[in-house]
């Protein structure tokens, strides 16, 4: 059976409202960047103790989500699940757009963003960062080729092979992103190999949550049919992924608690870290994991689009909070420099960090860039099937 893809019209008032809303956010972000780069980082909340602030939280959140958003396409091409096939094009697009947004934030928060060319020409192959630069650039190329093979009829026969390459690449990419932290031997909060697989499973959840929201919004706003078959399936999958993230979080923290060396930082995050502890329990666990799972699996809410949308949004908010705890919380806790000794003066204590307005605007701007790219591209190219009604998406669906 053939799926017909069609560009969105993009002439409605809503379309222009969306574009201008996102445009304002992007302009604000660029203004914030100019302000921060002109003055230097002293206008931010960052310091020599908290060297990576809220822009890194958003950047890594978007990069992690980007690789996860490609999963929907991978399920179709690698695992041959027919129902996901019509969603593949959008999946690739969301992946590229989120990555572009994340990288923009990452680059614009550098001390010298004007020297980006150096990052592209000088490589230290021992550095995970340098590897990531290659992985990110490669991801763009591979997903672009993959999309082309899906769009171009003559190339369709190669698309599942390209899908396999893209899937492998994204696994390596997220491993690389997780390893940015996992290989920091000096920091008790990070030095754990489990960071890499945990980042992969986080990417599954965040990417899918983004995908569900974008899919539901675009079908609602373009008034195209979207059947429960697709939505329910994606919703269930999201629930599984959220549960898997929780499993990894539990294993990571239990494993760390077991090491006396890491007990300090674990106690800090889990029990007496003030804002970080509250963010962990109320934000990441309750708001970002338990409530979404309840919303997805509660029988009374089955096939309820509003609650699934809310669940996806909460997963995303929980994801930002989770990365905030990992990145900022992990830095706030002091380095263990003298085991068996207490530092009385000169260093130590919990570093304070308050995100400033400009850096927060920059982070949000990254999301806006991703969304505006998607909004434009679905208008220019036929990414979206004109119908995802039950009988189109899954002929065997029993409503």
């Amino acid at each position: 059976m053939n799926i017909r893809y069609e560009e969105t019209q993009g002439r409605s008032l809503g379309f222009y409202a969306l574009i201008s809303g996102l445009g304002i956010l992007i302009l604000a972000a660029l203004g914030a960047v100019y302000y921060m780069e002109h003055h230097g980082h002293y206008v931010t909340g960052m310091s020599n103790r908290i060297v990576w602030g809220i822009p890194h939280v958003f950047a890594l959140f978007l990069i992690v989500a980007a690789s996860g958003a490609l999963n929907v396409a991978s399920i179709a091409s690698v695992f041959h699940k027919k129902m996901y096939k019509p969603l593949s094009r959008l999946s690739g697009l969301v992946a590229l757009a989120l990555l572009a947004g994340g990288l923009m934030v990452l680059v614009l928060d550098l001390g010298r963003p004007d020297r980006l060319i150096i990052a592209m020409t000088e490589y230290n192959f021992k550095s995970i960062f340098a590897w990531n630069i290659i992985l990110y650039n490669g991801f763009f190329v591979i997903v672009a080729v993959y999309l082309w093979m899906m769009f171009e009829r003559r190339m369709n026969k190669f698309s599942s092979k390209a899908g396999l390459v893209a899937f492998s690449w994204r696994l390596i990419l997220t491993t690389g992103t997780g390893s940015i932290f996992g290989f920091l031997v000096a920091r008790q909060a990070y030095d754990a190999v489990i960071m890499a697989p945990m980042f992969i499973i986080m990417s599954f959840a965040f990417g899918l949550a983004f995908f569900i929201l974008i899919l539901m919004a675009s079908y609602k706003w373009t008034e195209r049919p979207l059947g429960d078959a697709v939505v329910d399936r994606l919703g269930n999958l999201l629930g599984v992924f959220v549960a898997a993230v929780m499993y990894f979080v539990v294993v990571k923290h239990l494993g760390s608690l077991y090491l006396a060396e890491n007990a300090g930082v674990e106690n800090f995050i889990l029990f007496d870290g003030g804002v970080y502890t509250q963010l962990f329990w109320y934000g990441q666990i309750i708001l970002g994991s338990l409530i979404p799972m309840a919303l997805i699996y509660h029988p009374a809410l089955k096939s309820n689009r509003s609650t699934l949308g809310l669940a996806s949004l909460l997963v995303l908010i929980g994801g930002v909070i989770q990365l905030y705890i990992i990145i900022i919380g992990g830095q706030a806790y002091p380095l263990e420099m003298f085991p068996g000794k207490e530092i009385l003066e000169g260093y130590g204590g919990i570093a304070t960090y308050t995100p400033s307005l400009p850096e927060t605007i920059l982070g949000v701007g990254g999301i806006a860039v991703a969304l505006i790219a998607i909004t434009f591209l679905v208008k220019i190219l036929p990414f979206l099937p004109e119908s995802l009604a039950n009988e189109v998406a899954d002929p065997h669906h029993k409503g």
Binding site: H41, N48, R49, G111, R115, M337
Partner: protein, 244 residues
Amino acid sequence: MSKTLNRRDFIKTSSATTVGVATIASGITLTTFAANTSDNPVTSEKRWGMLIDTNKLTEANIDGMVSACQQENGWGSEVHSTGDQKPTWVKKLKVQDKATGKITSLPLMCQHCEEPPCVDVCPTNASMKREDGIVLVDKHLCIGCRYCMMACPYDARSFVHEELTDQREHMPRGKGTVESCTLCVHKVDNNETPACVASVNSDAVIFGDLYDANSNINQTLKKVQSAQIRADLDLNTGVRYSGI
């Protein structure tokens, strides 16, 4: 004949000596180094290092080291940066042993590791180690990603948070790049000792070539018990401490 003097050798030699042989005859800090014309590239035949004896060092000494470094390299007069945003190339730490309650003061700066984590993580090769063991930031290549600051176990690096003017001629520093103790590389290349070492001017802080069997630092390290901070990471630091 290996010229390398690694951590294990140190431990072997220091455990062979009795504890408490802290006094050493020589009070010379300004050793004469083999002629370095600074026309020739530095080589790995040398490895610069520092030995800090915290028992001999008074708090005033450490404060003097910090201000000598500021004076020499021009940091510390930033106007906009506040609190932890201010650069700190060297700082005075006070640590207390949890069991005995003994309080020790020490200066902490870049430890000039043989296996520096900051060099491993730097994406652009800006964070680098010279052949003679001095760890530096090549600010021409630094893009200000701050990954090295995440990787450093000693909190030794600072990010310049604001625009600077009127830098020292020999020590370029600028907004948006990372910096740290250079072991006064500009002085070392001219056969001088680092500013902090010169400010103490006693055998409490010894600077020299770790590999040179005739150097004061090499001979002293063979005699006294010394330690590296975070020795468990096996980074083989160039800065050693005795008395902690």
